[in-house]
């Protein structure tokens, strides 16, 4: 008798539960789908707008699919010499800058991970202070100027290559995933510290190299503020500053004209805006899903607290 009642009771509560949880599940998936749409749609719109007739875009006739396939924006964009130059500059800054950042930050992270480093505590403080205190805009500008780095290639890749954050992440990685016994074994075999680092630690640390390399590369690809302050030579300007002229300042880089030609130019520069966004963002967007594994790994490594 008792067990029957219990069973009945269990059945009832189970039913209720699943009913409640089902509503919960439905709302979870509903919200998730809505969020995906809200994020994808603006990006999708930029792409279809770049292929459509600008008049249709501004009238609101283009909403889900391009109208009158047109490539004018792209054609006009690749005719612009400064886009190519900007692209080339950005690629160079990204490649060289990432390389320098790895050379500077990874060994520092490794050295700080070693217990026998004399004065490790003070050195850590030395690296952490810049995260909170800086000289500020003008003093930094004056120092860069006094080093004679204004309007040079190097100002984009060298002065600010140190990242305390990346060093800490690298340090945590080396501490947690390279066993001390490896060093002891290498030492017995007569291997010195630097050779050990280069020939044994680095090959085991591809994950952290990838993470820090990718983060730095994305930052460098997207950066423009240092270029705006330190570079006045147009030949050195990165892609993002060219985009600034097209997207933000609304500069008519196609030249000015009057009458019928003027409206044609306006039309083209509208199309160019969309095309410029696509062309400048595509490389990172395309690479990203393949590299996502590394990006996530990096955040995980960084979140391990000591």
């Amino acid at each position: 008798m008792e067990t029957v009642i219990k069973n009945k009771f269990n059945k009832k509560s189970k039913l209720q539960k699943s009913w409640k949880d089902r509503i919960f599940d439905i709302s979870v998936y509903g919200i998730a789908i809505m969020m995906i749409l809200m994020i994808i749609y603006p990006l999708w719109f930029i792409v279809i707008a770049s292929f459509s007739n600008p008049a249709d875009v501004s009238n609101g006739n283009v909403l889900f699919w391009p109208k009158e396939w047109k490539l004018d924006g792209y054609i006009e964009l690749i005719k612009q010499k400064m886009i190519w130059r900007g692209y080339l500059n950005t690629i160079m800054y990204t490649l060289v800058g990432t390389f320098i950042a790895l050379i500077v930050n990874i060994p520092a992270g490794y050295a700080l991970s070693r217990k026998e480093l004399f004065g490790r505590k003070y050195l850590s403080v030395f690296y952490i202070i810049p995260m909170f205190i800086s000289g500020g805009l003008v003093p930094t500008y004056l120092v860069v100027k006094n080093f004679g780095l204004l309007d040079t290639f190097w100002v984009m890749v060298l002065p600010f290559a140190v990242s305390a954050f990346n060093i800490i992440i690298a340090r945590t990685f080396f501490k947690t995933s390279i066993p001390d016994s490896l060093w002891e074994a290498a030492q017995i075999d007569g291997c010195g510290t630097i050779r050990y680092f280069l020939t044994m630690v680095l090959p085991l640390s591809k994950a952290i190299l990838a993470v820090i390399g990718l983060w730095t590369a994305v930052d460098l690809w997207n950066s423009w503020f240092n270029a705006m302050i330190y570079l006045s030579n147009e030949n050195l300007q990165p892609l993002q500053l060219i985009l600034r002229r097209i997207l933000i300042a609304n500069e008519s880089i196609l030249g000015t004209s009057s009458g019928e030609l003027a409206s044609e130019l306006r039309r083209l520069s509208e199309m160019m805006k969309y095309a410029a966004i696509v062309v400048s963002t595509l490389p990172i967007m395309c690479l990203y899903p393949f590299l996502q594994k590394y990006f996530n790994q990096g955040v995980m490594v960084g979140s391990i607290k000591e």
Partner: protein, 322 residues
């Protein structure tokens, strides 16, 4: 005689121990030598481009003139600070900075936590992957392109949003040149761009939760909502506290690049923040000392707030950064 010998031996041992101490340090230094070589590049760069500019902070207390150099310029005391505190720009920049950054924290801090919890509830593996890739995607758009997109979408005459609102018969005001809309545009576009990325760290914390907690809760008849409230949220608290402290530490430095790009003469009353003002005064008007003074004031306030929030958090939740 005997006492002499004793004292001699005491002196001897003292000398030896002293020697062994310095030799110990020398030994340690020698052992760390190669490690110092690995540290050298970053130390040189930091000294040159981070610590050397800190010496340049002196010009906040001087009437800097490039001809006289930093040390040679005459002292001005707190003149530049007082000039800033008394100026009309002081109230404006402080108000706007606090407004934007508090708004950012209020909206941008809890939403990634909610997103992580939501993502954690998705059980279909493939869908979860798509959801994650999509929500992280906008993070990689550059600030420049993001601002370009904002300007295109919010354009009052023919932007996407005004077209969409036009479909249901609403006319959109010109939000780009209205200072009262500035903080909302700034904050919500930031949420759109970074909510997914900011949630990764919480997802990591959620995946570290011991599954037996959930099993026990299921046995006790807890609903999914109850599990979130009583297991997920409390266990996310330490991570959330650390991130909140870090955020509070930059309360007075809002995303400078984005503000500068979205600024126009019409919305200046809502968009002039401390960092954009420092930039304009310093590198456009060449008032080096005044600009540095304002920047220094900003840094000091940030550090004070960071320490304050850290102290409070240690008292309340026993988690702290420092």
């Amino acid at each position: 005689m005997e006492s002499k010998v004793v004292s001699q031996s005491i002196i001897n041992t003292a000398v030896i121990s002293n020697e062994s101490k310095t030799s110990k340090i020398m030994k340690q230094l020698k052992k760390s030598g190669p490690l110092y070589i690995l540290l050298l590049p970053s130390i040189i760069l930091l000294l040159c481009f981070t610590y050397l500019p800190m010496y340049g902070l002196l010009i906040a207390f001087k009437d800097y003139s490039p001809a006289l150099g930093i040390w040679g310029s005459p002292w001005a005391g707190l003149k530049h600070f007082i000039q800033y505190f008394n100026s009309y720009q002081f109230d404006l920049t402080i108000k706007n900075t606090l407004n934007i950054s508090l708004y950012s924290i209020l909206v941008g801090f809890p939403l990634p936590i909610a997103l992580a919890i939501l993502c954690n509830q998705i059980r279909i593996g493939m869908f979860k992957k798509v959801f994650q890739v999509t929500t992280y995607l906008p993070h990689f758009i550059s600030t420049m392109v993001m601002c370009g997109m904002i300007l295109i979408f919010l354009s009052p005459s023919n932007g996407l949003i005004s077209n969409l609102l036009g479909l249901i018969g609403i006319e959109m005001p010109n939000v780009l040149s209205d200072s009262s809309f500035f903080s909302s545009i700034y904050v919500w576009s930031d949420v759109w761009q970074h909510i997914g990325w900011d949630s990764i760290i919480y997802l990591a914390a959620l995946s570290a939760i011991n599954p037996t907690y959930y099993e026990a809760a299921t046995m006790d008849g807890a609903s999914k909502m109850q599990k979130i409230l009583h297991i997920d949220l409390p266990l996310l608290l330490p991570t959330a506290m650390i991130l909140l402290i870090l955020r509070a530490g930059s309360l007075l430095s809002v995303g400078f690049e984005k503000v500068l790009l979205l600024q126009n003469p019409l919305n200046l009353a809502g968009s002039e923040v401390i960092s954009t003002y420092v930039y304009k005064i310093g590198l456009q008007n060449f008032q080096y000392s005044l600009s540095t003074a304002i920047g220094l004031f900003n840094t000091v306030v940030n550090i004070v707030i960071l320490l304050l929030v850290n102290w409070m958090s240690k008292k309340l939740t026993k988690t702290g950064l420092l």
